[in-house]
Symmetry: C3
Subunit: 499 residues, 3 copies
C-alpha cells in the first residue's frame, strides 16, 4: 500500500471483561494468537507498524517479536488512560502523512477493508476516516455508537451512550486513518470528561466534524470488524473464522461430515478428495494429502499425512509424519517424532512415540512402542510393550525387517531383534535375537487337574461360614481362598515343582 501510511496498533488494554487475569491478546483464534492478526495484516500491507503495549507488555512484545523479529516497534503506555492517551504516547514516532490506527482486538479485519478506507480517505481529502458497521445484535452494547445529526458526526462510547441501541445500530469498528497534520494539531484537545475518565480517539471525530473538516467513513460487514472484549465475543469471532476456513476447504474439494464442531487452524492445508469427520481437530502446521479420510473425533496437530491415508475414529496424532496408504486407529495415540511408513497399520489402543516404523508393518492392538526403530513388514503382536525406560533414561529398541513379535511381549531396551526373527507369545525379550532365530522367554504351562474345583469348594465352604480371614491369615494359611493366580497357586506350584 501507500508509502504515506504508518500503523499504530493499540494493545495496552487490561482485558478486564475477560475476568481471567491474563491478556486477551494472547488468546488464540484458529490457532493464531489474537494480536498477530493485526500485526500480520499490516505487514502484508507493507505498513510500518508500532504497537502500543501496557498490560502484560512483555508477553505481548515476545509474541510479536517471535513472529516479526524487529520489524515491529513498540511504545509503552504505563497508565490506562484511554485510546486517545495511547495514541498521544506515540507522537514522537509519527513520520508518515497518514496514520492508520487500529485496535489490537479486532482480528478479522481484511486487507480489503483497510484499502477501501484509505481510498475513501484520499478521495474525500479527509482529516479523519473510520470504519463503521451495522451491529445485528443491538443488545450487545460494547461498541461506540455513531451519531449523525445536522450538526455533523460523532461517536459516543458505549458507557456514555444512553440512547436506543436499535435506532443507533451503526457502531464504530475501531479502525481509523488520520492525517498527521490534524492529529498533531488536535491530539492535545482530547478531554477525559466521561464515564471512564479516559481520553478517547473517538472524540477526534467530533473535533474534525465541528471544525468543518472532512470526515469519511466506509461500512464493513459486522463479522469482519467484531471487537473482542469478552470470552463470548472471542467465541463468536472464532466461529466466524472457522466457518470461513471450512468454506474455503469445501470449495477446494474437501468433504466435511458436519462442519459446526470441526476445528481447523489457519496454517492447515487439506488435499482435494479428502473427508473430514465430525468433531475432527486439525491444528497447527498440519498438512493432509489428497483422498485422505479422517474419521470422527480424531485430532491431528503439526502432523503430515501423505495421500490416501486413513485415520480412523478417536485418534490423537501430534508431531508425526505418516506415509501414503497408512491406516491409523481407531484409538491410536501417535506422538512426537514418529514416522510411519507406507501401507503400515497402527491399530486400536496403540501408542507410538519417538519411533520410526517402516512400510507394510502392523501393530494392531494394545501396544506401546516408544523410542523404537521398526523395519518393514514387521508384525507386532497384540499387547506388546517396548520397555524403553531403564529407570535412568530412555533406551532404544530395534526391530528389523520381517521380524515377527508374538503377542504380549515385553521388549526390554536396549535390544535388537534382527531380521526375520520370531519371538514367542508372552515372552520377555532382554537379549538380542539373531537373524532367523526364534526367541522365547516364558514359563511352561502346568495343568493341575481338579484343582479349580477343589479351590472352588473351599471358597464355597468359606462363603457358607461367612468368615473373613485377616490379612495375616491369608498370607500364612494354606487354606486361604485367594487362589486365582495368587499366592495359593504359587504354593501349589512350588509343591508340584518340588515333587
Amino acid at each position: 500500500m501507500s508509502t504515506k501510511l504508518q500503523g499504530i496498533i493499540l494493545a495496552a488494554g487490561k482485558s478486564t471483561r475477560f475476568n481471567a487475569n491474563k491478556t486477551k491478546l494472547a488468546e488464540r483464534i484458529c490457532g493464531q494468537k489474537m494480536i498477530l492478526y493485526s500485526t500480520k495484516l499490516l505487514e502484508e500491507l507493507n505498513i510500518p507498524t508500532t504497537v502500543v503495549v501496557g498490560y502484560q507488555k512483555n508477553q505481548i512484545k515476545k509474541i510479536i517479536t517471535k513472529e516479526h523479529k524487529n520489524r515491529v516497534s513498540f511504545s509503552t503506555q504505563d497508565t490506562q488512560e484511554g485510546t486517545g492517551h495511547a495514541l498521544a504516547i506515540t507522537k514522537d514516532i509519527w513520520e508518515k502523512e497518514h496514520l492508520l490506527v487500529i485496535n489490537g482486538d479486532v482480528p478479522l479485519v481484511t486487507k480489503d477493508i483497510i484499502e477501501q478506507l484509505y481510498n475513501k480517505h484520499k478521495e474525500n481529502n479527509a482529516a479523519l476516516s473510520f470504519v463503521i458497521a451495522h451491529n445485528p445484535d443491538p443488545s450487545n452494547s460494547s461498541y461506540g455508537r455513531i451519531i449523525k445529526t445536522d450538526d455533523g458526526i460523532k461517536i459516543v462510547e458505549s458507557k456514555d451512550f444512553h440512547g436506543d441501541t436499535h435506532e443507533h445500530c451503526c457502531v464504530n469498528a475501531g479502525i481509523y486513518i488520520i492525517t498527521k497534520k490534524f492529529l498533531t494539531q488536535h491530539i492535545q484537545s482530547l478531554e477525559n470528561k466521561n464515564a471512564n475518565k479516559e481520553f478517547y480517539i473517538t472524540d477526534l471525530v467530533k473535533i474534525a466534524s465541528d471544525k468543518g473538516l472532512s470526515v469519511a467513513t466506509i461500512t464493513a460487514p459486522f463479522d469482519y470488524v467484531r471487537g473482542i472484549n469478552t470470552y463470548q465475543e472471542l467465541w463468536a469471532a472464532e466461529q466466524v473464522k472457522r466457518s470461513e476456513l471450512i468454506k474455503y476447504w469445501m470449495e477446494r474439494g474437501v468433504r466435511f461430515s458436519v462442519a459446526q464442531n470441526v476445528h481447523i487452524d489457519l496454517p492447515v492445508s487439506i488435499g482435494s478428495g479428502s473427508y473430514i469427520g465430525c468433531g475432527v481437530h486439525l491444528l497447527g502446521n498440519t498438512t493432509i494429502g489428497k483422498n485422505c479420510k479422517i474419521h470422527e473425533f480424531s485430532s491431528l496437530q503439526n502432523t503430515t499425512l501423505k495421500n490416501d491415508v486413513t485415520i480412523y475414529a478417536h485418534c490423537i496424532i501430534k508431531d508425526a509424519h505418516i506415509e501414503t496408504h497408512a491406516q491409523i486407529g481407531p484409538y491410536a495415540h501417535v506422538r512426537e517424532e514418529t514416522h510411519i511408513g507406507s501401507h503400515t497399520i497402527i491399530g486400536n489402543f496403540v501408542e507410538v512415540k519417538k519411533s520410526t516404523i517402516g512400510d507394510h508393518t502392523k501393530a494392531k492392538h494394545l501396544s506401546y512402542l516408544g523410542d523404537a526403530t521398526i523395519g518393514s513388514q514387521v508384525n507386532i503382536g497384540a499387547g506388546t510393550i517396548t520397555c524403553n525406560h531403564d529407570g535412568l533414561k530412555k533406551q532404544k529398541t530395534i526391530i528389523e525387517d520381517h521380524a515377527y513379535i508374538g503377542s504380549n511381549n515385553s521388549i526390554v531396551a536396549p535390544v535388537t531383534i534382527h531380521k526375520e526373527a520370531y519371538t514367542g507369545a508372552g515372552s520377555v525379550i532382554t537379549k538380542d535375537v539373531p537373524e532367523n532365530a526364534l526367541a522365547i522367554g516364558r514359563a511352561r504351562q502346568i495343568n493341575k487337574g481338579g484343582y479349580a474345583k477343589k479351590l472352588r469348594n473351599r471358597k464355597e465352604t468359606t462363603d457358607a461360614k461367612k468368615t473373613k480371614p485377616a490379612k495375616k491369615d491369608v498370607e500364612k494359611n494354606d487354606d486361604k481362598f485367594a487362589f486365582l493366580g495368587a499366592r495359593v497357586i504359587d504354593q501349589d506350584i512350588k509343591s508340584s515343582e518340588e515333587t
Copy 2:
C-alpha cells in the same frame, strides 16, 4: 415473597406425546429432573407448595421428597380430566389469599417472572393474572392462544384453536395467580365441552373477563416459559438452559472452544482462566479449579479438579478427586473413589478405580490400577495390571513411595511392594517385595538359532501343498506350522530343556 401466596404445581399429566411410556417430569435438563425446576423455584420464593400428581405418581413423589423432604405436599388426581379438574382437587387445602398455579413442565421460569406477575396481580387488583409470551415459531401449535377482543380476553387451548397461528402468536405460558375468592366461586363453573373433553383452567380467564373482573397479564420471553410436551421441546429447552450456563461461565473467565456441544449441569462450577474443549461434558457435582484445561471429548462427573489440572482429550472421569498440576489422559478412565495426587501423571489407556495415588507418581500407559494404594514418586511401567480380583472378592495392592514397577507386570493382590523396591519387566508379583529389594518373576530368554527360518520353510512347504491339517493333527504332529508362541514352540523348548 408475600405470605399471602400458596403454590399448586400441576404434575399429573400422562406425557403422552413423549411416546416413551414414562413421565417426562423425571427427564433431566442440565442434570436436574424437570419437576424439580418448579418445586425449587417455589421453595426459593418461600411459597408453600402442593404438587398434584397422577401418572407415575410414586416416582414423582419420590423425586420431590428426596429433594424437599416433607416441605412439599401432594394431592392426587386419579383420572385425567384436565388442568381445571386437577386444580379443583386441591380445593380443601386452599388457605392463602392467592394461589399461584404453574405447570410442572415449564422448567425455565425465573423468580423474576413470578415476582412480576404477583406485582401486576396486586397492582390491578386482579381476580386472575397470567403470563403470556410471543411464540417465535407459529408452526408450533401446542400452546393455548390468547384471544383479545372488544368483549374481553380468553385463552383457547391449542386443540380447540383453528385460527391463524401467525396472527395469534401470543400464547399462554401456563402460569397463573388466582385469588382464592374468585377460584372458590367459579372453579365449579368449568365445563368440558371441548376437543379433549377436559376441564381447563384457561376457561377461568373468560369467566373472569365476562364477569368484568380484572384480568392482568405480563409478557415473558418465550425461552423462559417454554412448555415441554415432546422430546423436541425438551431438547429445545435444554439448549436454552445450556446456553445460559455457558454464557454464565464465559462471563466468569472461562474459555470454551466451541460452545454448541458442551454439556454443563446446573451444580457445576468452573474457575476463571480455565479452558473447556469441544464436546466436553461436565456433569453432576463437578468442580473445576482455576487455570485447568479440559481437552476435547472428555467427560467429568461428580469430580473435583484442583487448580492447574490438565485433562487431555477423550478422558472419562467419575467420582474422583484430582489435586493440583495433575495431568490425566488422553484416553484415561478414572473411576469411583479415586484420589490422584499433585503433579501425578495418568496416561493413555489407563484405568484407575478405587485407588489413592500420591504426588509426582506416573502411570502412563495401558494399565489397570484397581483397589490400590500407591505412594508418591512411584513409577508404574506400561502394561501394568493390578490383579485385584481373586475369584471371590477384590483384594488390595499397596505400592509404597519411590517404588518402580517395571513394564507389563501382573501384581497379584493382596500384596505390598515396599518403599524404593523395584520389579523387573514382565514379572508376576505374587509376594510382598521388601524395601529396597529387586523382585523378578519371569522366565529367562532362550534364542534358538535358525529356528524361525526352519519353521518358515515348513510353513512355505505346507502352503505349497495347500494342505490344511485337522486340529487333531495340529495338536499331535510335530510338523505343524502353528509355530509362533504356540505349541510347536513349547515342544521345541521342551526338547531344548530336556537335552
Copy 3:
C-alpha cells in the same frame, strides 16, 4: 402413480464444482448414495425410469444396478452439452404420454412434490410443468431464476442471469413434467447461445409460454428441492435430512442429548425410551431396541442392539449383534461377526473381533478377544490377549462356561479352556486346560534383598561421573545401570540361579 408417466433422471454431469475429481452422485447423504434418492423415489412411485449417464458412468450404473437390478435403464450422454441435449438423447425411449424429468442431484424431493406437480400438470392440461421454490439465501446464485412478465414465463440459468437475486428469489428446482407431444415437437428447437454454450431444458419453458401453451408450476419448500453442486450444498442438504430423521425419532420416543452433531443413516431404527448422546453415529443397517442408552461419542454401524443395552461413551461397534442388558464400554471396540450375550459386560480398552460371547460373561479391561468362542458366566481377567495369529493364519480360542481367566494371560490359539477351569494371572496358555483344572504358566517370583538400593547407588555414582557408557559397554559391562527388568537383572538372576 399414473401409468401415463415415465421418468428420466439426468445424471451425466461432471461435478465440476466439487473439485474432487469424482462424481458427486456417489457421495452419501445420511448413508445413502445421492443418485439413489432419485431412483428410489421414482421406483416408489412406480414410474419406469431411465437414467442418463456420462461422467464416471460405469460407477453410477453399478450403484444403481446394485440397488434396482435391471429395473432401471440407462442412456449415455458422451459429450457435456447440457440438460436439453441429455434429454434429447433419450428420445427413442419416450413411450408414455408424459415425461417426468428430474436432476440426479436433487435428493430431498418427496413423493408428495411429484404427485402435486403431476396433479397440477393434468388440471392445467399443461404442455410443461415444473417446480419452483423460494431461495432464502439470495447470495446463492447457482439456481436458474424464474422470470414472469406480461409476455409469459421463462427460466434464466444462473450463469446467464444478471438481475437482482433478491427480487428474483424464485428459483427452478430442476423437476419437470413435459408432455411427450410437446417435447417431440420442440426438443430440436433448443439452442446453445448462452454463457455455457449448452442446450438447456429450461428454454422449453419459454418456448411453451411463447406459443401460448399452458405452463404450470407448483411451489415447494426450498429445503426439499436443494440442488447439490458444491460440497457446501451437500453439507447443507445433509443437515436438512439429518434434522428430519432426528425429528422423526424424537416423535417416536427417543431422547437426543444434543441433536446437532448426531449422525443417523436412513435405514436406522431406534426403539422408544432410548437415549442417544452427544456426537453419536448410528450408521448403515443399525437397529436399536427399546430403552437402550448410547452415550456420547460412540459410533455404531450395521449393528443390532436388543432392548435395554447400554453402550458407554467412546465405543466403536461394527457388524455386531448385542443381546439384552449387555453393557459395552467405555472405549470398547467391537468388530465384525461378533455376538455378545445378554447381561454380558465388555469394558474399557477391550477389542472383540469375530467372537461369540455368552451371557453374563465379563471382559472388563485392556483385552483383545479375536476369533474366540466364549461361554456364559466366564470371567476374562484384565490384559488378556487371545493370540489368534500363528504367523500363517488365524486360529480359534474356545473358553467354556464358568471358566475364569486370570489377568494378563496370553492365550495361544488354537486352544480350549474347558468348563470351570481356572488360569493363573500372567500365564501363557498354550495347551488345553481340562474341565475343573487350574492352569498356570509363569515363572516364580524371586526377591533379591537390597538389590534395588545397590543398583540405585551405582546409577547415582554414574550420574555423578556424568559418563555415558557406549552401547557395547552396556552390553558387556557388569557395572551398567540399565537395571530395571533389563539385562543386568538377568545377569543377577542368572548368578542367583547358578549359586
